[in-house]
């Protein structure tokens, strides 16, 4: 292989290692290693971009995000996402005002249904965004979750 091709290939591999974008080139079932770069990004739009390679999220009522209006505890906020969209490859959760907005990602196989849930930490009142990738397009639903601090709760 000539030198130019070799360098180009190496650069592509290096670029592919850090971000989710690499997943777009790979077949659905091959999951890259934990996307360190995406989890480190502190800005919401840059975070979304690092995952999908773009910021085009289509808000839709077909994505149902269940999150409390007022979180009882910012240490453990129950979040559930489900959608009627088909061929869902991934569901990502972003918390706009968290130090790093990307909180978690769920990569679904063909057998997995697009229904997930987890519990997250929220540092302050923030918009929570559920992004669903279906048939190559990214859809979303969001909700503002209020987080209050202070009291006698101990």
């Amino acid at each position: 292989m000539n030198r130019r091709k070799f360098i180009k290939k190496s650069l592509m591999t290096v670029a592919a290692l850090g971000t989710f974008s690499a997943l777009l080139i790979k077949p659905k079932r091959v999951y890259a290693a934990w996307p360190k770069a995406s989890f480190a990004i502190t800005d919401l739009s840059k975070s979304i971009n690092s995952v999908y390679g773009h910021n085009d999220l289509s808000e839709t009522t077909k994505v149902k995000l269940k999150a409390p209006d007022i979180a009882e505890s910012g240490a453990s906020v129950p979040i559930n996402v489900k959608t009627s969209l088909k061929n869902v490859e991934s569901i990502m959760l972003f918390v706009e005002n968290n130090p790093q907005p990307l909180s978690s990602g769920f990569m679904l196989s063909a057998k997995a249904k697009p229904i997930i849930g987890t519990r997250i930490k929220m540092g302050q009142t923030s918009k929570v965004i559920a992004a669903v990738k279906s048939n190559g397009k990214v859809y979303s639903a969001s909700k503002e979750v209020k987080v209050t601090i202070g009291g006698c709760g101990g």
């Binding site: 409390p68 209006d69 007022i70 979180a71 009882e72 505890s73 240490a75 453990s76 906020v77 129950p78 559930n80 519990r119 209050t148 601090i149 202070g150 009291g151 006698c152 709760g153 101990g154």
Partner: protein, 273 residues
């Protein structure tokens, strides 16, 4: 009007209401304060009076983190001491399904015996070092397991016809109603008069039902908290010096508040914010 009646009843000159009368007054107060809460639901504390936090709690209860502690507690409970004995030998019914019987007034030693104190008493009897009542750990895990095996059992503390027992109850009651700390609050301020209202970001839980669900997994710190550690936490918050866990003051307080939870079922360990 209700408040005045309450105050008169608890601080009436020379006329001491019986615990049974106290309990009636307590229950009536909460019935009128929270008309939509069924009696048995008070075991769920703040969730029996606040629908928004209740929904989140129900979600967590689908798989609550304290299940880890129950499992750990079961292992600890069944592990033999160095001398070969087990915790089961110290308790009736081998320690299973007995939490609702605590605390009780021990007429031999003339003091209130709590479950946690009994656990350490068992350890001492078998040549083991006592476990700490603070910061979760094995004591809270064992307590959680024993609470778990007692779920559904109804609390029915009976105060024996014994002057010392009545004194312990009255001592606990007095502590409950006494103003303390720099913030000058009493337990009654938050859990009777202002129960169900906002205390900054918190909603205060009603005063009946506190004893049913301890130890409690606190999500903010991510671990179990025993009842006496919680008492200390409350006193710290009102900027008062807390008493030591399992000393007279808190055991008597636990005696009083558990009596006030008579008729409710054990549902520990619990989960709170």
């Amino acid at each position: 009007m209700n408040k005045i009646f309450f105050i008169l009843l608890f601080f009436s000159l020379g006329i001491s209401a019986s615990p049974e009368e106290d309990l009636d007054v307590f229950r009536d107060h909460f019935k009128s304060r929270f008309p939509n809460t069924g009696f048995s639901d008070y075991k769920n504390g703040v969730y029996s009076v606040d629908p928004s936090s209740r929904e989140q709690w129900e979600s967590i209860e689908e798989f609550p983190p304290y299940e880890i502690n129950i499992e750990q507690g079961e292992e600890l409970f069944n592990a033999p001491f160095k001398n070969g004995n087990k915790y089961a030998s110290c308790f009736e019914n081998k320690g299973i399904g007995i939490r609702q019987n605590y605390p009780y007034f021990d007429e031999d030693t003339n003091q209130v015996m709590t479950l946690e104190l009994a656990i350490n008493k068992c350890r001492k009897k078998n040549g083991e070092k006592p476990l700490s009542y603070y910061k979760g750990g094995p004591m809270a895990d064992i307590s959680a397991y024993m609470a778990y095996t007692s779920r559904g059992n109804i609390i029915n503390i009976e105060i024996p016809d014994n002057e010392k027992a009545f004194e312990a109850y009255e001592d606990g009651k007095k502590l409950y109603f006494s103003k303390k700390g720099q913030l000058n609050f009493s337990c009654a301020d938050c859990h009777i008069w202002q129960s169900g209202t906002k205390l900054r970001a918190d909603i205060t839980s009603p005063g009946i039902g506190h004893s049913t669900h301890f130890p409690v997994y606190r999500s903010g710190i991510g671990r179990l908290v025993t009842l006496h550690e919680r008492f200390a936490g409350c006193l710290n918050r009102i900027r008062a010096k807390p008493y030591k866990a399992q000393k007279d003051e808190y055991r008597n307080l636990e005696y009083f508040i558990t009596y006030m939870s008579n008729g409710l079922e054990i549902n520990g360990p619990g989960y709170r914010k």
